[in-house]
Symmetry: C2
Subunit: 361 residues, 2 copies
């Protein structure tokens, strides 16, 4: 018997590249750009970018200048766009790493005009219905034609592209066409993230921004996921014990055993980014003779531990590993059980410094 | 007007030390130990430990051996206990940093017996009702008296100590006394974390384990919080814009304007650890002439941005900062709005690498 205490997070870069290649094919002839913001959704911006760059990706999107600097180390000759744009607190990152700001407001454009960086043509974000960042038509009307022509890309973002039939898709597409035609007839355009890719070629324009789907998330949940799962998260059992009928489990005693049971204490918790909302709702998977056993989480998820019902697993002992994410229980499945989306799940999980983290190439 | 893009996270170490001193006084004569596991609940194990060590704290608890190594750098002569215990994957950390494992199971004790570290006396965790890690009475009965006497501390953990009147408190206290008397009459004991400190001196034994309350969390929510808030999280406004009656906001169009409004796009999102469950529920605070304006979050929290209703704020513009956490809207308040606990909130927030992070001493 072995004794382990540390959770293990495995990221499969080969499968990520397969996802990239499929999305690239679906996007063609649009340029496939990779979205590696938020530390590549927590999965490691440097490692993810390096793998994509080695496989031909030359366009990357981040949210912040500080992220762009990391991506530049892994992608020396790529175009790196920064979605939150540029400001006093991030200017140096742009200047050093030659990042392309996505200008999101008239005030930011004024800033850019007094802080231009040689050789950089910014992109511009326009508002088409999300009501997040971007120039409205009234803002664009105030720009001169020479100002309008200085942008390398015109960008907008869809709000409901994960619902194929949502009226907002057609509305935003129409708004984007109108704006493009009126102000940016000769400027390359980008409207879609992963979810927009699946809506069809009229949404692709000149460049698609591939994020969530690269990492295996189903961004078109109205159809079977065509992406490969790239993640495996497992944690060791620290103890297996009997739970007598009537005993309580975990903080606030939210689970009481209705019969004699067998429980396993698994060495992972919300301190590792496992959502606490999986309390009394999530599952841990154990394998016995190759067969998956779904073991319900009992009571509250605590900071460092999860307790689960392993009554159905014949042979289980200290040192065995339970799976929190894998091909049988994907990030979408876990997020569904946790009442959130896989984007938030992996963003929190991925930043945990106490995992043993492996990239399989 | 200034343009900023980056959220700022301020951690007030002076107030943390005030919390430590109050908890120390409440715990006396028990030794006040600090719980700095999970990167000090995300707030930075090195910096937090250093500050506590400089102020006299000499006992620390972490969850994993890898965390203990970091704490050792900041606390050269402290006793550092590791709650998840020791295993093959963490042995080297214990050996190098002279960490004290909390042995949680008979199997782990066997491991310890073949992997003893000179000069280290382990602690032992016993089960009193949480049904998480720890030896049960039947396990203890199998140990020889010489085995029982090798432990430096006997430890257990309360499940419901944040509810003063919960029957589990008395039950666990009684179980702990019985176990101590029968097996560990001469061994120093520790039962309570922050919440147990407020239950009264009979719960304190020889050492208290101070975590959440150090960081300002109210661990005794049945009374007014006696801890000082130590956190401030703020993010810049990237854009202020009109939202016309009938327009939608954010992903899946979950908010529709019932009248003409004014909105601000704030540069922070769930990618920064702000819970996505604050969608249509949380608040951002802006200050106008020193007066706090509570501005509701509209629509979904997205990865990098939050949209909020600033109709009530007369003067607001790009570059102003909105507050996500501060004395007026504490971690407990935010967690309540998000449907979780402050422990999970700060654990996720704290690990975000893209904040500008400041420690005020």
């Amino acid at each position: 018997m072995s004794i382990y205490t540390t959770p293990i997070f495995n990221i499969n870069l080969t499968k990520m590249i397969e996802n990239f290649n499929l999305l690239k094919k679906l996007s063609a002839p649009a340029i496939p750009a990779a979205v590696v913001k938020d530390d590549a959704y927590g999965l490691g911006a440097y490692e993810i970018t390096q793998s994509l760059y080695q496989n031909g990706c030359r366009h990357f999107f981040v949210a912040h200048g500080s992220e762009g600097k990391i991506v530049r180390h892994a992608a020396p000759k790529a175009e790196i766009f920064v979605l939150q744009g540029i400001g006093e607190d991030s200017f140096e990152y742009f200047n050093e790493a030659k990042l392309i700001p996505v200008i999101c407001s008239p005030a930011m454009l004024d800033f850019w005009h007094t802080h231009k960086i040689e050789g950089i043509r910014p992109a511009i974000q326009v508002e088409t219905g999300l009501n997040r960042l971007g120039f409205k038509v009234a803002d664009l009307e105030k720009l001169t034609s020479s100002e309008l022509s200085e942008f390398s890309y015109v960008l907008s973002h869809l709000s409901c592209a994960d619902e194929q039939a949502h009226f907002m898709n057609a509305r935003q597409l129409e708004n984007f066409h109108k704006i493009k035609q009126r102000f940016f007839a000769n400027t390359p355009a980008t409207l879609s993230a992963s979810d927009g890719v699946f809506l069809g070629s009229e949404f692709h324009f000149d460049l698609t921004r591939l994020g969530a789907a690269l990492y295996g998330i189903n961004t078109a949940p109205y159809r079977e996921n065509e992406m490969k799962n790239i993640l495996e998260l497992k944690a060791p059992v620290l103890q297996v014990k009997k739970l007598d009928k009537g005993e309580f489990v975990g903080y606030s005693a939210t689970f009481r055993a209705p019969c004699d049971m067998k429980i396993a204490i698994v060495s992972i918790g919300y301190g590792d980014g496992v959502p606490r909302s999986l309390s009394n709702r999530g599952k841990v998977i154990f394998y016995e003779n190759g067969k998956a056993c779904y073991c319900p989480i009992l009571g509250r998820v605590s900071m460092d531990n999860i307790i689960c019902d392993v009554s159905s697993v014949q042979n289980i002992s200290t040192g065995d590993f339970g799976y929190l994410i894998n091909d049988d229980y994907t990030v979408d499945d876990v997020a569904r059980d946790a009442g959130t989306i896989a984007y938030e799940l992996i963003s929190n999980l991925g930043k945990n410094p106490r995992f043993i983290r492996n990239y399989t190439a």
